[in-house]
């Protein structure tokens, strides 16, 4: 049944994500085409494209994962608590299967988005000379491999950040479902509360971690950045904890009151 749920969730996500990724990919395809037409890096047309491309890429790096995460939480609300629940909840599927299908789809689309954006990074290294292109690509890959610990830490921490935000929104929606009145407003308030509490515990956890594992020092480049090991551990534990609660709640307490 998970496969069937995934199929329908994939379609639902695709309706939103494909156009967004399409617009993003279209821009760098245009740049490649322009380069094939003889325009070079530094030409006015390419410069104009970069002026458009850079802000879009910046917004996309933050925006696309954020949209993915918010849409995942919206799908959860739709499937469990809104009108669509009258179709989805009577299906012969466990509630936890529905939750897993939604979260997995968010992860899949996050990975797809990341892959599209990474491919877009290759555009600046493109050159009409195949040998030059391969050299540029080689340099890029070499720098990624040499600094792989940091890049992997950044990637994994980014992924966990988006996932934990999505799960926190889902938890807020679940808690708000017990109330009458404006569920959007109540969900937002719950989300603020959950964010505040998780930040508090994050701070406490960091201090405890520093005290227990005192191998970290101020000189350690990994520690005082956002993408540090204790933060990764905390976000992983937070995400796992919320997910376990949502899975438990899905088959025991998630009433469709609307």
């Amino acid at each position: 049944m998970l496969g069937k749920c995934m199929k329908y969730e994939l379609k639902a996500f695709a309706k939103l994500m494909l156009p967004m990724l399409g617009v993003f990919a279209f821009t760098w395809i245009i740049e490649v085409v322009l380069m094939n037409l003889g325009f070079k890096q530094g030409d006015f047309v390419i410069l104009l494209l970069w002026i458009c491309f850079i802000p879009m890429m910046f917004l996309s790096v933050i925006g696309i994962p954020l949209v993915c995460c918010i849409f995942g939480a919206k799908r959860y609300n739709d499937v469990f608590f809104s009108k669509k629940a009258y179709l989805m909840r009577p299906l012969p599927v466990k509630g936890k299967t529905l939750v897993i299908s939604i979260v997995l789809n968010s992860v899949i689309w996050y990975v797809i988005s990341a892959a599209v954006m990474i491919l877009a990074l290759l555009v600046p290294s493109f050159s009409q000379d195949p040998a030059q292109f391969l050299m540029n690509l080689g340099s890029l890959l070499k720098s990624l491999i040499e600094d792989r610990a940091n890049w992997m830490s950044v990637a994994f921490s980014s992924f966990l950040t988006v996932l934990s935000v999505e799960l926190m929104i889902m938890l807020a929606v679940t808690l708000a479902s017990k109330h009458s009145g404006s569920r959007f407003g109540i969900s937002f308030l719950y989300f603020l509360l959950i964010s505040f509490v998780s930040s508090l515990f994050h701070g406490i956890f960091l201090r405890v971690f520093l005290g227990v594992f005192n191998t970290y020092s101020k000189d350690d480049s990994l520690f005082f950045t956002y993408f540090d090991i204790p933060t990764i551990i905390f976000r992983a534990v937070l995400s796992a904890g919320i997910l376990i609660y949502l899975l438990w709640n899905a088959d025991r307490k998630a009433d469709v009151i609307q």
Binding site: M1, K4, K7, Y8, K83, K84, A85, Y86, L87, R89, P90, L91, P92, V93, K94, K178, S180, D251, R252, K253, A254, D255, V256, I257
Partner: protein, 233 residues
């Protein structure tokens, strides 16, 4: 003795401090068309949603076919809510595919037959249909399942008399023989002719339950008259 398809013991459900069902105990038997009657707020929809798995009881027990409410009971229960519930962006052929994917007992040929007789365009989106057509599509999908228990929540509440006749005719012509149909309604006169058994709820408790013929014989009048008398304001 006929086995019950649906059993409730001490079933209680409250929305916060507001009780919707209070210690309801009942057995509904196989092969019966049962009217679930009561005024607004009596607990009819709450009971149906509990059986369909959209709500979880505060206490008590509920079983369908001897099984606790879950994927196995949903496999044999066909539920028609009291509202539009199908996604507005889905086309009729997509809805047929979805029902076929998830419900092993879905009879696609029957659904196609019912919808074709209604002249419905299978490529049309659900949201672009008229209200009456949407209700017919929902009913066709529900009754095209070969379920053991059909839950119809207010299927004739918001339609004209001609449509009511069509809906009741569709129910009678398409439900699986030997299965149970539980129809929740407050339009007693329309459904009374087809009912085998009658359940009357009031304030979340069981007021009356028995065969329709026996109730009519005991009271000397129709179920509709009894309803008006029992629930007189």
């Amino acid at each position: 003795m006929n086995d019950p398809i649906l059993s409730a013991r001490g079933l209680t459900k409250a929305y916060g401090s507001i009780p919707a069902l209070n210690q309801l105990s009942i057995d509904i038997f196989k092969g019966r068309i049962v009217g679930l009657l009561g005024p607004n707020g009596s607990g009819k929809t709450t009971f149906i949603k509990l059986v369909a798995g959209l709500l979880f009881p505060n206490s008590g027990e509920l079983a369908v076919g001897g099984m606790r409410i879950g994927p196995d009971t949903k496999r044999i229960v066909s539920y028609l809510p009291d509202r539009d519930y199908l996604p507005v962006s889905m086309r009729v052929n997509e809805l047929l595919k979805l029902f076929g994917d998830f419900y092993d007992d879905f009879d696609r040929a029957r659904a196609v037959d019912i919808l074709s007789r209604l002249g419905i365009d299978f490529s049309q989106k659900f949201g672009t249909m008229s209200k009456g057509t949407r209700e017919r599509v929902q009913l066709a999908l529900t009754m095209s399942r070969q379920a053991e228990l059909y839950l119809l929540d207010e299927p004739i509440a918001a339609v004209d008399p001609a449509a009511r006749d069509y809906i009741l005719r569709t129910v009678l012509q398409n439900y699986k023989e030997g299965s149970t149909v539980l129809i929740s309604t407050h339009l007693i006169a329309d459904v009374e002719p087809i009912l085998d058994d009658v359940i009357m709820l009031q304030n979340g408790t069981l007021r009356l339950y028995g065969p329709a013929d026996r109730i009519r014989a005991d009271t000397g009048g129709s179920i509709d008259m009894l309803f008006r008398e029992v629930y007189r304001c």
